[in-house]
Symmetry: D3
Subunit: 298 residues, 6 copies
């Protein structure tokens, strides 16, 4: 008895899996040849952004100040091209009317890509403050270079800052894919909708969750496993969650949250407050205070 | 002094590392030319399964309803072939007698692969309920498509459902490798032996652990960092843990568990109960109740 | 309006991003053609180490005891070459004087690589005890082989043991990159500076953090989400953290720490103590004792 | 002295090479983002055509008659997509007005691709006669399969037949690239404009050249090194060669030409004539005759 | 009008191309899952043979005499494994009865592979004489190394010597594929059935053809474009060529043939004879004589 | 009987192949870790040169005049780096004293690479004349672009011009590898030592051979299969060919040579002479004359 005997099983399964009632809701039909945003292209976009913003650390291994401009020029152009294409795929995915007007969408995508490129110098400036914060906040760090090369927190923040810009420009789907890439790499899940100030650092980071409507001030530091989540959310008349309502915490400037703390709901953790590890916080914390878990028992 | 001066160190180390007493227990000898299950092939199997179950979202970027069947047909055949080969490698790995009868093992592997293919339509049906649950449970989700593309919870659940089928058919080693792949990608560790109902969702997910003998009902929702683990386990006369004893929690229908809660032992969390975050639960929780952490102190 | 209209935006952004004040501190200039340590080469180094230490499980799929030596010989030589090159890149990165003397650094790098190769047999011996501990500590494990193939804990420990050796030999940057690779793959973050005894196991592991100055005895077991961190750290006169001060916990022999426990500061968890899950520990725990979280409330 | 000393040479050369008078005529500017036809994509198109026409010999290694249709369906769709894109690139390359109307060109390209797909069954039929001729004409051939797998003559003819169809549909540039691919692989250079009957075979083939306006009947056989070329060609008033004038030989049915013969100009080699090797033929050869080189001398 | 409008053309073409009368004779059905010999695997086999026979020139770039043995050991084992698999595929392709007994074929394939491995030292010895002949015969050659690295003649001869061994052991199809690989790379087409002595050299080589039943002595040198072919061949009663009859030239020791000479039929070119370029030879040439083309005319 | 039974054959063959008397003369030992020139790197060097000289046709598919300079700058730097490394490998290969002074060789290699970069603008200028000649000489050519994209003659000439520059600077081995790459791709074998004027074209080209000491004027055109070779060469006292003696033909300006003509020895083909196909020429041809083969006979 050889594999051929299973042929009818294969063809039957193929028939059943190709029936429209079977794939209803799980099939993405590309009516006009525009594929979904590509994970591979978005990964390349993230890499290009890294090599533009941190030259010499990512991308081409040999660059020096004389030839730096050529590398940045090529990377910027490549980023623009890839981003135009991916933003168009994202717009197409989200449009209700089957991408009726490809030319319009492409023009819109190119504008978004150009705006993002224009924002790169400022994005680099902000990331510089994040590198500084990570370096100053960790006795184990020996140099800025080590932070840039090795620290997962910085990678997650860099992806977030890129994704947040794109979301602000109205790009659908793609910002989330970009932060989920960092989530997969680092275990740090920052929703692109969150608003985060300068000098932000996340140490170690695995398990951190920062929800869509969080507002985080400057010089905030989070440790691994911290959740800034929603406590619950209102449902509409059909029982579906209402989208877009502020439901995540506000952390003011200079807050520190230790590992595995869970902070839920639209509450405020006041300026310079410290939240100890492994606690469950659902009420405001006053500025400058420090809360910790009730002592364990033997 | 050049690298050649180190040649004697290299050859000495090679000699020591090639002594049988050195590699005892850490060396897998392939007596009959059948290699171990291949991580690369299993990754391909997972990808094929995804493109069969969610056409248009994974796999070939351009499919439409007219040509869908060709793609599914090719993918199903490819899946069958790869799975036959890998299941055979798994059976061979686990067999005591050195794969004495390769033909028998191959026939058995082909039967398993065919059974798995037959189960795909039902697997798709169940995953549909999981997509629905994730969408309905997250105000930040804009469409089924976003859940399918981006949500790590769904990826981990899809790998689990595939692995669970294979484990049910008696396949060794491979189910665990498949769930560990999802673990690496998402930080969600679901043992393939767990039993899980429909409409299951895991939000964010990093750090979730679901043990081998867990039983989970329908419409259950877990947040990141939740552990459903064993409290302790009996040892046999030689001090080794006894395998296969029920030792993980039972979660009944409609249970919600918040982030970083640890639930240990063969206890029951009753229907519609809610378990708050960051708590340590080692006793039954009654249906419909809600437990949270003792309030933190300043 | 076509993409060409955005050309001036691209060239302007390129100009701004190429100004030295813009990239100050974020640009790694390779003055002498020596690139940074390469993530790709270090990944290969980790793979080679795995295939030397666990032959038949990693690397070439077909090896048998007659030809094993050839494979180990080739892998050892390849490891030596790659490591020499990467260690040199690491030394160059850390040197203050722009790698003035490439020949000296290369000789030093070759010595380090040779020393590492000499340590491989002992490293294999210690990892053997770790495999044993994982197998004995998990009722779900069916064989040593399953532990070696599937268990993320073992991968993280193997990377740590390699990185720790390199750090002991004074290699900069690279040890951290190697442990961060495991962190990315497994969610387990072990600083290469930590000191860890034999028979060490980490179950599931996502979210585990082990700090730079931890001292861990023999037969210690950690579960997922455990933090062994610093509580706080002294700043120097300029407000920067003082490097290298002992600030992480000491775990004596036979300690068990359950999931999501956070243990902070230079405290001692005594021999055979058990720390329950989800607790925040900042004081010594006496040998043989068991501490758990205060009971949750309804 | 290190590599940095050469930086000014690099930047000077870059400046000179970027001056428009330097690259005049050698620079292809892609004004609208449509790249040139891609050698890689065209190679894939040739491979797809081969796997559709000779299933089981090229492409997916495992096909059987039950699942054959799925494979052909997927390959046909993929061929159509790639061809549409490449034909569009070819039309754009040749258009005088800078691809003013991308939509029109894309529609035209899709029509061409669809026509080519429609012609595949007939193309297979003709290639079948070529396989037969090669098999019957070579005592060293053991099977049709050997001819299909190994014979460079058949590969060159298959590329020619594909390219000839595309040229007949008015596609610029691409047909020539496709025959040049075969030229590179086999040393056989057949211009896509040549007209060639059924049962055509080329044995060994290296060095064969068949010019643009050749007309070749049925059952013709050529050996290696045969040239069917132009003797000379009229120039126009500006001294440029006049394009498109018939200037290559006509070979009637059942002609055989031996190795390294050179046949030049619009002459006719009559039905069933035999042309011996290494001769220079610039006049008609009567049907049924046989000409050979003047005897060599000592 | 979008691409979807062509869907019916694609499905119709798929239907026609999937009809059995359409693919009759051009479809290789793999009844038992054994694919055809793989061009990729055979290319690897050739590369492995080269790195075993010319260590340091091909394969691993860094080898030295201390570790050479490890490299050869690994390469020999890899060659054996790949060859076993490919020879089995070749035997299966040629067997009349559908590979009824896979185990028998695999045993036979392993024996062939082992015999080939045993013959490698002698094959290296013979190739050494070929390298010597090329070096001594070309004033432009500066070293043995240059001959080994650059000379296409040597590559073609090396592939021929490997293929000839395999053909002598009764392996079908594969020897021809191996010599056709060299044909594609170098334009030199040596049939694996030819018998060729030591110190054989081919200079430049493009267009050389050496037929199946040629017998070539020692120290023979050929230039580019030389054909050693069949003049004609007897047909059997059904009009098919009779296989295996001696029909190609015999070249005795120390013969030189200049470029583009065509020598046809079972004739003998005597010891130390010289054949000038561009001539057509169909009769014996006496030992020690020299023949050239009749002088050209103005 | 399984594959393991052949283990002793494998180990015996490994032993024999590792004996120094066996590999004598065929083994390249890399005494100082510098590998041979790498075919892969040299292929990349050729590609980079093509994309610098013919921007838009090779290399990055999307370039426009605004961003062209960035691309050329990056390519020039990359070319310089790769070439430095490869030239050093070539110098090391040829040096008698085992690369005693790596630093000196590297400096010398960087100077060569910089000189080559400086010569690029002139090389582009000369190639421009070659493109023009090919276009003007072929009625089948529709544009410069078609010549650049498709014509094998141009590729071979471009590789030759690059290799010739390197040879003029004293680089060993590499020039020959570069022209052999073109030989493999196109069947055109031009020795890098030949001297060739402007407006040079080779039509079709397979089988063309141009020897080391050829001197070719301006506006010369060759067809496929033309040999410009040595008739014979003097031997030294030990019977080895004397290197470097002028032994190949001189073709003055405006010469045309038709297909398969063989021209041998240090003879002169005078200005504007035409050499017909398939002839053997070993004596001078007067300027302006035309010679053809003696008429064939029936």
């Amino acid at each position: 008895m050889g594999p051929l005997n299973f042929n009818h099983i294969l063809t039957q399964a193929t028939d059943r899996l190709s029936e429209s009632e079977s794939y209803q809701g799980l099939f993405h039909q590309h009516t006009d040849g525009t594929p979904l945003p590509s994970a591979k292209a978005l990964r390349r976009i993230v890499e290009l952004t890294r090599s533009i913003l941190f030259p010499g650390y990512f991308g081409n291994p040999i660059v020096n100040s004389r030839t730096l401009k050529y590398h940045i020029g090529v990377d910027v152009e490549h980023l623009f091209d890839l981003l135009t294409e991916q933003v168009m795929a994202g717009l197409c995915f989200a449009s209700q009317d089957g991408c009726a007007c490809a030319t319009t969408l492409r023009d819109r995508a190119a504008e978004v890509a150009a705006s993002l490129v224009e924002r790169l110098p400022e994005m680099r400036h902000t990331l510089h403050t994040d590198v500084e914060a990570a370096y100053n906040g960790d006795p184990a760090a020996h140099s800025f270079g080590e932070v840039i090369c090795c620290y997962p927190g910085l990678r997650a923040i860099a992806n977030y800052r890129l994704a947040h810009e794109l979301l602000s420009m109205g790009v659908p789907l793609i910002p989330r894919i970009i932060t989920e890439m960092a989530h997969g790499e680092t275990g740090i899940d920052i929703h692109p909708g969150a608003q985060i100030g300068t000098h932000f650092s996340i140490d170690h980071g695995t398990g951190v969750v920062i929800g869509e409507t969080c507002i985080i001030g400057n010089r905030v530091k989070l440790y691994q496993g911290v959740t800034l989540g929603a406590k619950n959310f209102p449902l509409d008349d059909e029982g579906n969650p209402v989208k877009g309502i502020p439901r995540h915490p506000i952390l003011e400037d200079d807050v520190i949250v230790y590992s595995n703390a869970t902070i839920l709901g639209r509450i405020t953790i006041g300026r310079e407050a410290t939240v100890g590890g492994n606690i469950w916080v659902t009420e405001d914390v006053a500025p400058g205070t420090r809360i910790v878990q009730t002592k364990a028992k033997n």
